[in-house]
Symmetry: C3
Subunit: 401 residues, 3 copies
Amino acid sequence: MNGDEGFVEEELLKRVPRWRNYLAAKLGFRNHWYPVRFSRDVPENVVLAVKLLGENILLKRVNGTVYGIKDRCIHRGVRFSHKIECYTRDTITCWYHGFTYKWDSGVLCDVIASPDTPIIGKRKVKSYPVREAKGLIFVFVGDDDFPVPDLSLDVPPMLLDEDMYVQGSSYPVKANWRLGCENGIDPLHIYIHRESRLVPNTQRSIPLGHRVNPHGGDNRILEEEEGKPKGVRSAEFREGQVSAYVPLYEGRVQGQVVVTSTKMHTTPEEAKFKRTTGDFIVLPGALRVDNFPYHGLYQFEWYVPVTEDSHLYIITIGKRCADEAERAEYDHAFWHRWKPESLEGFNNDDITAREALQPFYSKDRNWLEENLVREDQSIVKWREVCHRHARGIQLPKHVDP
Amino acid sequence: MNGDEGFVEEELLKRVPRWRNYLAAKLGFRNHWYPVRFSRDVPENVVLAVKLLGENILLKRVNGTVYGIKDRCIHRGVRFSHKIECYTRDTITCWYHGFTYKWDSGVLCDVIASPDTPIIGKRKVKSYPVREAKGLIFVFVGDDDFPVPDLSLDVPPMLLDEDMYVQGSSYPVKANWRLGCENGIDPLHIYIHRESRLVPNTQRSIPLGHRVNPHGGDNRILEEEEGKPKGVRSAEFREGQVSAYVPLYEGRVQGQVVVTSTKMHTTPEEAKFKRTTGDFIVLPGALRVDNFPYHGLYQFEWYVPVTEDSHLYIITIGKRCADEAERAEYDHAFWHRWKPESLEGFNNDDITAREALQPFYSKDRNWLEENLVREDQSIVKWREVCHRHARGIQLPKHVDP
Amino acid sequence: MNGDEGFVEEELLKRVPRWRNYLAAKLGFRNHWYPVRFSRDVPENVVLAVKLLGENILLKRVNGTVYGIKDRCIHRGVRFSHKIECYTRDTITCWYHGFTYKWDSGVLCDVIASPDTPIIGKRKVKSYPVREAKGLIFVFVGDDDFPVPDLSLDVPPMLLDEDMYVQGSSYPVKANWRLGCENGIDPLHIYIHRESRLVPNTQRSIPLGHRVNPHGGDNRILEEEEGKPKGVRSAEFREGQVSAYVPLYEGRVQGQVVVTSTKMHTTPEEAKFKRTTGDFIVLPGALRVDNFPYHGLYQFEWYVPVTEDSHLYIITIGKRCADEAERAEYDHAFWHRWKPESLEGFNNDDITAREALQPFYSKDRNWLEENLVREDQSIVKWREVCHRHARGIQLPKHVDP
């Protein structure tokens, strides 16, 4: 595809006026912050090539600070990463004709093969704003003239709290990023986790689904306040709220119980302690799940667009730690318990589900052929919030060949 | 391709008004019966996934009857076959959210994760009419509101005769289904079979081609009578008809004999016995060849559309059998002689030829660039009969991603 | 792609009026001579299949003369090369129905399976003009009614000189043919060759690039004279001309020397002897480099379009030889020194560079996104000369499936 027309057909977009921008955002939302790798992946002086929203980006840490530039020489379009040449710490030189750029600004500072070239100092390769927080490297993929917003507007609340200590890992997924989001907040998909080894490991109950509580209120709250992250969260966060749903531990077909899941026997006091997890998803596609995988832990996860057909699933688990000793203890728990038991013993089922959704949703037209049920309102609300608050749509013209 | 426009360009279709529907039917004709597997492939309780005219279909035998449903949950489009869950004999449950459907009707009877879902009992997954005959499973691929015709209208005459006993096998071919049909009825393609091991094995003559008999009449009869299968057959079926062609056993280039084929010496009486084979092709693409591979046998074969680029070649050989002993004797002959010697020692050359045709005919435009000769009138007549009697065209909108 | 519209978008072509035909010629220029293989590759009676400008062509040497025909039967489009049948020396027979053609004219002379076919002697398969020169087989890819020009108009001057003795080899490259041309004449790309093993092997200096000589004139001469090859050559061919450029052996980044290349110490007399190489590129994409890889040698090389994404890089090195003894001596030098040291120890870096250019330039739109510098005027002039003198554009309609 050379241009932008026909990326998602106008005829389809018109049919979903309330979430048009979401349907259009096959490649993600432009002018947002995305985590792209862990800080540990970019030690000093290493050059790392990543793909983000279809753009090829090079990262390098220079004197502690990570910089990002487009992985494409402005001269004739070859990729620097074809053969990395960094003659000095703060520059990168194109292997083909010696065009040399500054890491911090992208400015063309020398052309080795032709030092008298008049455009030296006047042209630049695109550079990307980069921030590090909580052991993650965030990159802002946006237009050059777009005012870069604060990172805190694009991550779930609590992540940046000073005492929140985070560890994580990332997994490539062969599915569009929106299927990651929608699987993450799908209230019914718990059915696929019924045999997860996380359940016995954490002495927790895991329902198969739920029945409707006739006294329950709306269980999804829109967060659209100016100056804060925009998103959708579950109402369970509020004290005293009656849940809209009653968890279900027996599955029936034509009246007969055919499948059961694990229900721990708990006292009312324990039940209060083992409160239902809550979730909060914010633009551009970051979810916080409270009290998961265990009471007192917070799962923060991202569905980072890579191509139209793939995303990077970054999963982190945070814990409030007061000091180095607590952090060290949590490090051990994360790497030896939560990574194998939860990331790879529970969320791996989510990866499978998203990849199974991909063939259907890869045809744009099929987004209008789904048959959503009442519980999927959480997904519909998410789409609508995205439509209203996305800062831009990534288009083929932004994407590298 | 998201829509239907441009599937086959209108500009090309306009140029073949007499067989327009045939050129358009890259994916097959809709609202017809197709054999898809042998009965032996679907024992009780086995769930089998097949692709037919681009549609993914699941088959299951329940209490002896085979049912077919679309392999795609109505909720969010995942395939049931990703992970088959049949909690009861007559239902199938989607692995993702527990949507459960009845095999016999496709009706949604339960949603395990949300038993109060209002659409239970009101929505259904597409179900396909299925018939079994002569050891084959036939599926009707059509519109829900299309009156299902009798199977006998879509198979060659004689197949369903009570004493016709049939055995067969199937072979995947990387070529469009129409190239299967056209190779099957091509009067000149006999040239490729000249070294087939079937020929010495059956003491038969096999010509290289033919010369024109100036006293011969038209050798193709159109069958378009109301209430009967529609198709084209060779005139050799009629007694007393003078053949249009004289078989040729020596091939010449610039006057010199360069290649010969096998001609048995026969008395006139034997010659009458070893009459030329006759053929009869009917919509939607099923051929009967009489007295082939041997006197008294009937080859029935189908070119079943799978994708635009592939078909399933189902070859069966029928014999009229009066009782179980005759059937047992024929079973032995089929599996030990005709399958290796004919299906795999003769028709395998046809598979090779069709796959060699595919690159040229995969470009729609090239259907107008061929240079057909007089003998190819059998093919042209077949295209025209298809144009007049096809009940519908399979389009991309019918196809699963 | 079925038709020609949209091959290269009109909207893009309009934006480069001075080299529109060059941008359009993704598949090469039609009605030109191209070398396709070496004479040694086609001994008597061998049939060789090649692809040239997207067309599948068969070559056969009959009684010393090489003939070329389209590798596609006119009847139903299958390729002869699927199973070659040459019953007589000067004919080829299609394996499917016995259509038989003459190698020298392409005329259909027999149909083995139907000797009475009326089109015998009246129809033909496309035949291609073929010439052999300097151990290369040249094929003219053009329209049937286009007057075939003399081969000398499509090769660099000197190649066909009687005493010019040529040896060579060919290499497939996964890049468009135009990227081959542009790399070949790029004055700055010398930077990539700085570590080539050819340099120490030939006691030569190799600069990294150059500084501008303020007294230098224009260094590119357009050759557009009627009745001669059309192209662009470097001005160094003329005696007494002041070079526009001063070679540079030290590369600097921000003022510091970061890379150096090899500079031999030479007396002024030696310097005159070791004159700078000159180059001369002509349509349809053939380059001569004088005094390369050594004084007194002439490199002739071609970038022969195969598909949109690939070309055949034919490299030859010529030497003026007076007699058989000199030719034998040069044979030894070519195969034991120049092929390993220069073709595979220097030009292999050019292959790598072209393949690195391909992703960017494979998007037609990106031809308008490059940032050419002053030295790239040689490339721009080449594009413009091609625009003015190309005899035709190869289009998808000319290409075999």
